[in-house]
């Protein structure tokens, strides 16, 4: 619940800026409940027509990796070079790749 003096919990906000794109983390805000988090997110992070969809997630509900785990967590993919586009040698005159 909220902290002292009625301080509202922190929410992380994710905005889909247009159809076809992922929701992207844009920042956080404080709100007393989920509804308020969404209305605040609309007001704060989409004032300039930036979004078509918003997610609000309680910050303490997010499970996050810690930097200490970095090696075991992220290194295994480091050697999967075939996942990276630069692995593939494409002649320069092939368009749109």
């Amino acid at each position: 619940m909220s902290g002292t003096n009625g301080q509202w919990p922190l929410y992380e906000i994710f905005v889909r800026s247009k159809r076809g794109l992922n929701h992207v983390h844009v920042g956080s805000l404080r709100a007393a409940d989920d509804r308020m988090a969404l209305t605040h997110a609309r007001d704060l992070y989409t004032r300039r027509n930036e979004g078509v969809s918003v997610w609000a997630v309680r910050s303490d509900d997010i499970a996050a990796s810690t930097p200490d785990e970095k090696d075991p967590f992220f290194e295994p993919s480091g050697d999967k070079v075939y996942r990276h586009p630069t692995f593939y040698d494409i002649p320069a005159d092939v368009p749109h790749i």
């Binding site: 509202w8 800026s17 805000l29 404080r30 709100a31 007393a32 409940d33 509804r35 308020m36 209305t39 605040h40 609309r42 007001d43 704060l44 004032r47 300039r48 027509n49 930036e50």
Partner: protein, 287 residues
């Protein structure tokens, strides 16, 4: 220094995600784009002007009250939300005044209506004039205003004047959000703590005597809006919110008189004095 051209370095820093957020006014559609402004056959220009002026006055005075909240909101997020609502209403007022000026044949611009009419000439409902009060009164009034105006605009969006219809259609989306924002807050405050309940109930009691004026308002009767159906829709919304918020309806006698007929509270004159002070001090000025 590598930041010599601020705009270039901004573009780099911001990546390629377009310039829709660049500056105020970009990425926005003109709400009246492609709408014919000629007065259609069978629409009475004077009646249309009167309707637009009255609805414009409601919006302008309400926006001014919200502007007075600026830097005084209970939380920064609410600061942003109240400003959004104020800006929407201000936008509605500007479009309505512009249409009034076209319809009454004077060609007056929006500022002539806002800055160079005295309190006696305003035709807003008196609810919007009442002083700011506390946050409970603020959200309570937004709820009443927006529930009523939304019901009215939903009907007005189909009216015979294409400009007024387009303004109303745009307003419907805005007002639906205002109503949601305010309803959520009324419920929170009604349910929250003993103090917030007491304040919300007091605000509700203070608003009640001014409702009759809204329910009887026939300003848009000539444009396909029946006062009775708007009143019914508004009552239903308010009853639903009041129940969720645990508020009880007081049996208060309506305040006599009508803002639409030119009756004013003592609060409008000082409000307009503030609004008009600079414009009137420099009548030849350009801004």
């Amino acid at each position: 220094m590598s930041d010599d051209h601020i705009h270039l370095s901004l573009a780099e820093a911001g990546g390629a995600d377009g310039d829709a957020r660049w500056a105020f006014g970009t990425g926005f559609a003109d709400p009246l784009h492609g709408v014919a402004t000629a007065l259609p056959e069978g629409v009475d220009g004077r009646a249309l002007a009167a309707c637009c002026t009255a609805l414009g006055d409601d919006a302008l005075v309400a926006a001014q009250r919200l502007a007075q909240w600026c830097t005084r909101a209970p939380e920064l997020e609410e600061e942003v939300a109240l400003a959004n609502i104020g800006l929407d209403l201000l936008g509605q007022a500007r479009l309505l005044y512009a249409r009034a000026g076209q319809a009454d044949g004077t060609g007056r611009g929006e500022d002539a209506y806002a800055y160079f009419r005295d309190a006696e000439a305003f035709r807003n409902v008196r609810l919007v004039e009442l002083p700011g009060g506390d946050f409970a009164f603020c959200v309570g009034r937004i709820l009443v205003q927006s529930a009523w105006r939304l019901a009215l605009f939903e009907k007005l969006a189909g009216c015979a004047d294409p400009v007024l219809a387009a303004v109303a259609a745009k307003g419907v989306k805005e007002l639906a959000y205002h109503r949601q924002y305010a309803a959520e807050w009324v419920v929170r405050l009604g349910d929250g703590t003993e103090e917030s309940h007491r304040r919300m109930q007091a605000a509700w009691d203070q608003l009640t005597p001014w409702l009759a004026e809204l329910y009887e308002d026939e300003v848009a009767e000539g444009f396909g809006v029946s006062a009775r159906s708007v009143a019914e829709a508004t009552r239903a919304v308010l009853a639903q919110v009041a129940e969720a918020a645990g508020l009880t309806d007081a049996q208060a006698a309506p305040v006599p008189g009508s803002g639409r007929a030119g009756d004013r509270t003592e609060h409008l004159e000082p409000l307009l004095a503030e609004l008009q002070v600079v414009a009137r001090a420099h009548p030849e000025g350009t801004w």
